[in-house]
Structure formats: structure tokens, C-alpha cells
Amino acid sequence: MTPVRRLDGWTVRGCVAAALLTFYPSSRLVAQDTSAIDRGVRIGIIYRPGVRPGLVVLPGTTPALDSARAIIARDLDYSDRFELITLPGGDSIRFSGAAPSSRVGRPPTGGGAAAGLNYPLYQALGADFAVGVALAGDTTVLAVHDITAGGVRREFRAVLPALKDPGFRMAVHRLADHVLEATLGTGGIAATRILFVMDGKVYVIDQDGTDRQLVSSSDHQAMSPAWAQDGRRFAYMEFWAGHGQLFIQPLGSGKRQPVVTTGQALDFTPAFSPDGKTLAFSRATEEGTDIYTVNVKDNCCLQRLTVGRFSDNLSPTYSPDGQRVAFVSTRPGLPQIYVMAADGTDQQLFAPFDYGVTGSSNAPDWSPDGQSVAFHRDVGGTLQVFVLDVRTRAVRQLTSLGRNEDPTWAPDSRHLAFVSDRSGYRQLWIIDLETGRIRPLLQQSGARLPAWSPRIPETASSTP
């Protein structure tokens, strides 16, 4: 493998893109470039809209391998970072490890050509990378080939659960995320799940739209699910006799715990602090709605962050460093996006608006990279998703087709799940901010209030 050569190949395109970016108004992309340089990551291999590395996912031979291959291929497609290349049919293209049974168990080697991989063909098809899955005993081996360099760049080994095991898909999603690490040096979103509300109950679904499960089974109407940053727990609200009771529930067991001090008033929109120790939430009383925090590690210490008096303050969302909280306040008359320090001090307007012109703004969600806050805003009587650049405070509208609301960031900070009626009824969609590509997550009417998980840790992948 020769990264230098690759770097050369990419630098040209990268420079053109950088030149274009100079005139591109989005500071988001520029900021991302800078951080890439800061981290010392290969600067030549930075994703650019329209310049996506080509990638071939090689076929598998056993049913489990082929299922894994299909899941990985879709995950890589949904990452919106590759140009997926479909191989023309025929036996001429075979990945050694996925070859007949006599070869099963032989781990792929660095010599791709020697192993029967047709690098020149993949290159001719426009591929920069090839991905293959093979079996070595009980171990599934994922090989990421660098076509230009003509060899295996990285190998990942995992013992996958059985095909019918509920953990199978998540284990394969993790392999797909390894491909992004190996090729682009970035984390993927394949091993993530999305909580949402439908018919008053909380469900979870994999980011690729499969494996939907009911996670709140009580008869009480539920709202506002929110993940803890460890990806193992989530919080949500249920109506109990006119009050709003908050619960925290582990992803696997379903054994939820009511949050102390909540349930005596209308408590809603829970949000975990990044360290998972604090839960911020909105509490509606006869004085109005204000933001409180409670220590959910020691189950104590209710604190009030806002004192609205004649205005409502709600929908808190923490910055990833835990230092700030963006929220909604009606202090300008209509709800708009505000920000404060995590202890409630230094409250100020966050997303600028034109008084008397700009519509209501709601449902903020701070991106995991800290650079953006997504929210929705009333535009001409319908809702649209907007993104606020935290550093410049520039606001840009992301959607315009139909009604679009309740955005939630993927852990890669470039995908958002949201609710849209663009297809005729309200359902969940996912948009990639950098390519603008939009796909439905769940083709089912009535799904709403999505919450995208962090990357799911391995021990939390077991299903209820």
C-alpha cells in the first residue's frame, strides 16, 4: 500500500474542491477541513460532494456471508461517502476468501492479485476500494482492499452471531463502520439506531430501516425519547394522570426506572448531559414552563436553570462538551432558539431571527461534533429544518418540500433524521447534509420525534 500515491491522486481533486470552497458560503465545510488538518488526518482524502471514492463490495458465498455482504453494502451506500460500484456478473470476479469451500478458512492475504482479485478490473470500473467478507473458522474476516495500491489495507476479524441471532445485524453494521475507519479514517453510522414515537409508544429501529422493536410497553402515552451518550440507555416521558413522568430505560432489558422528582408536574423533553450524570428537562407548571436538571447518577439535586415568569423555556440540548445548553424560549414573543451555560447563566439568543418576520423555531438538537444546532422553524405556515452554525451563528434552511420537523443528528454530524410529510403522510426520513441525498427511514405513517443514537457499544447490542 502506498498512501503517498493515493494522496497524490487525491490532492489534485482536493485542491480544486478547496478552491471552490473558498467561495462557498458554508463555513461548516471549511471548519471540517481545518479539523482534519488539525488531527493530522490524510488531507488528500477528504470527502467532497460529487467526489466520492468508488467502492466494490465483493460477493459472499455462504448465506450468512452474503447476508453480511448485503448489509455492509447498504450501510456503505447509506454512509453517502462512497460511489458504490456494482460488479458485472460472472465468475471472473471472485474474492479468494469467499471462494469454494476448499478455500474457506484461509484468511485473505495482502496479495490481492495472487488471491484472485481482479484489481485492474475494479480500477477500470472506477473503484478505489474493494471490500470482501470471508470466513476463517468461526471468525468472519472483513478485508478492505486498496485498489490503487493493489493490496489489502486493513483486515477486521469478528465472530458474528448466528444469522438468525438478533445481534447478527448489529455485528455486521459494526463491520461496515470499520470500512469507513479503514478507508476514510472516519467513524461511520452503520451501528446506530433511532428511537421514535408512534401511536404513543416508543420504538427503536436500525439506521438502515430494519429490526424495528417496541421498547415502551406501558399503556401510558409516551413522548420525547432521548439517548444517553453511552448508547446504552435512553430517557422518555409518559403521561401519568395529567402529569409527565420521565423514565430511564436500559436498551437491552426494558427495566425502566422513573426519574426522581419528576411526575409531580408536567415534565417533558428529557436530555442527557454528555457524561450521562445529569438529565435536563422541561417542567410545565402554573408559573409556565422552565428548564430543570436532576442528577440521575445519585438521584438527587433538582436544579432550576431558567426562570421564565412570562415566557416558556423548554427543549434543552447539551453541547457535546457539556458546557452549554441550547433551548427554546418564548421570551421574544414567539419561540426561538437560545443558549446558556450548563448552570443556567449567560442566557442569550442563539439562532438569529427577524422580529415580526421569522416564524416560531423549535426542537433544537446540538450536533455531536459541536459545530451545528439543527432545529425546525415555521416558514409560511409549515415547518422546515434549519441548521445553525454555532461559531458564525449563520442559519441555513435545509428543507423546503412539504412539512419537515424534529431533526436529530447522526453521530457523524452530517446526517439528520427528521419527520416529513413530503410523500403524502408524516414519516421518518434521513438527509445527508453534504450530498443532499434523502431517503425514507421508515415507510409508516405516524412515526415522529426521532432520536438518533450514538454509536452503539458492543455490549449494548443485545436485543430485549
Binding site: Q221, F239, G242, S282, T289, L314
Partner: protein, 204 residues
């Protein structure tokens, strides 16, 4: 003289004997009189039975009427309670994204003030609701303001704050399922629900 007296006596006696010995036997009148008296007695008895039956009927009628009166009065009470309940449950409505009491709803709230004043044990819960157009979570805060606005109206008219609870359901419990202004207008509302002391209600 003494003999004359005896003779006179004897003569009278003869005449008397002669009189007894001649003519048909007298008609027996007593049996006739007996039949009548039996009939009369029978009639009297019957009359008294009838009277008794009539009295019983009257008593039954009276009892029935009494029961009816009780039922009527209960029904009337129930009707009153029902009428008061209906009055109390009359919803009030709001403009889009607003929580101020509309002038045309002040009458309905004044009625509730009267009902709460006339029924000292009555406690109610006001729930605020929104239409589907706003943000789902913001609507919980908006519904809360709508419920609180109605409570403040009642309290400012002399109702003890402790007798009125408020809750918000946002847009989670729509009354009308449509997606047009008519449905939205119905859904932007406060509902009034009895939580205690509502078994028998007096008119204000």
C-alpha cells in the same frame, strides 16, 4: 161487684179465645226481614271490603305517587346535576398559538365560576390542548398556558386555586381528526373535568 169483675174478666178471656181460634195462620214476616238483613250485612261487608280495597288502592296509589315523586325529584336532581355537569364541561377555544381567553368564552367561564361557587365541594381539572400545526413538544407548553389561563380567570373571580388543577396534553389528544381549520379550531381548546364532589350538583 166482685163477681162482675170476674165475669168481665172471663168474658174478655172468651172473646180472646174466640178470636184466636178463627182465620188463616199469620204470614211469617220474620224470615223476610232476615234475608234483607243478611243481604244488607253482606252488602255492608262487601262495601267494607271494597272500601278496604279502595283504601289499599289509594294507599298503593299514594305510595306509587310517593315513589314517583321521589323518582321525579331524584330525576330532577339528576337532571340538574347533569345540566350543571354539561355546563361545566363546556369547552373554551383559542386562536392559533394563543392562550388568551377569547371574549366569547368569558360567559362559559362565568358559568363555571357560578357552579364552583354553588357547589363548595366541587374540584375540577382543566386540560389544555393544541392543534397539530405547531411543534409537538412546544405544544405541551402552549397547552399548559391555555389551561393556566382558564384557571387564572376562575381564580380571579373568587374561586380557590386549590380547587382547580391544570394539565396539558399538547396536540396528543385531538378531538377532531381532520387536517383543516375546522378540525384545528375544535382542537385548540380547554376541557373541564370533575375530579371530586360532582355526585349531586346545584344550579348556580
Amino acid at each position: 161487684m166482685k163477681r162482675l169483675s170476674l165475669l168481665l174478666l172471663g168474658g174478655i178471656a172468651v172473646v180472646a179465645v174466640a178470636a184466636c181460634g178463627g182465620g188463616p195462620p199469620p204470614q211469617p214476616v220474620t224470615p223476610q226481614q232476615n234475608v234483607d238483613s243478611i243481604a244488607q250485612a253482606e252488602k255492608r261487608r262487601q262495601d267494607s271490603i271494597d272500601a278496604e280495597a279502595a283504601a289499599a288502592r289509594a294507599r298503593e296509589e299514594e305510595e306509587r305517587r310517593r315513589q314517583q315523586r321521589i323518582a321525579d325529584s331524584l330525576a330532577a336532581l339528576g337532571k340538574t346535576t347533569e345540566a350543571v355537569r354539561t355546563m361545566l364541561a363546556t369547552m373554551i377555544h383559542f386562536d392559533y398559538d394563543k392562550s388568551n381567553i377569547r371574549p366569547d368564552d368569558a360567559g362559559a367561564l362565568d358559568q363555571k365560576v357560578g357552579i364552583l361557587q354553588a357547589n363548595a365541594n366541587l374540584r375540577i381539572r382543566i386540560s389544555g390542548h393544541c392543534d397539530e400545526r405547531g411543534s409537538d413538544e412546544y405544544n405541551l407548553a402552549l397547552g399548559n398556558r391555555r389551561a393556566t389561563a382558564a384557571k387564572q380567570y376562575l381564580v380571579s373571580h373568587g374561586i380557590d386555586a386549590g380547587r382547580v388543577e391544570t394539565v396539558s396534553y399538547g396536540e396528543e389528544r385531538p378531538l377532531a381528526q381532520g387536517h383543516d381549520e375546522s378540525a384545528w379550531a375544535q382542537n385548540r381548546r380547554d376541557e373541564f373535568e370533575i375530579i371530586a364532589g360532582g355526585d349531586a350538583l346545584r344550579q348556580p
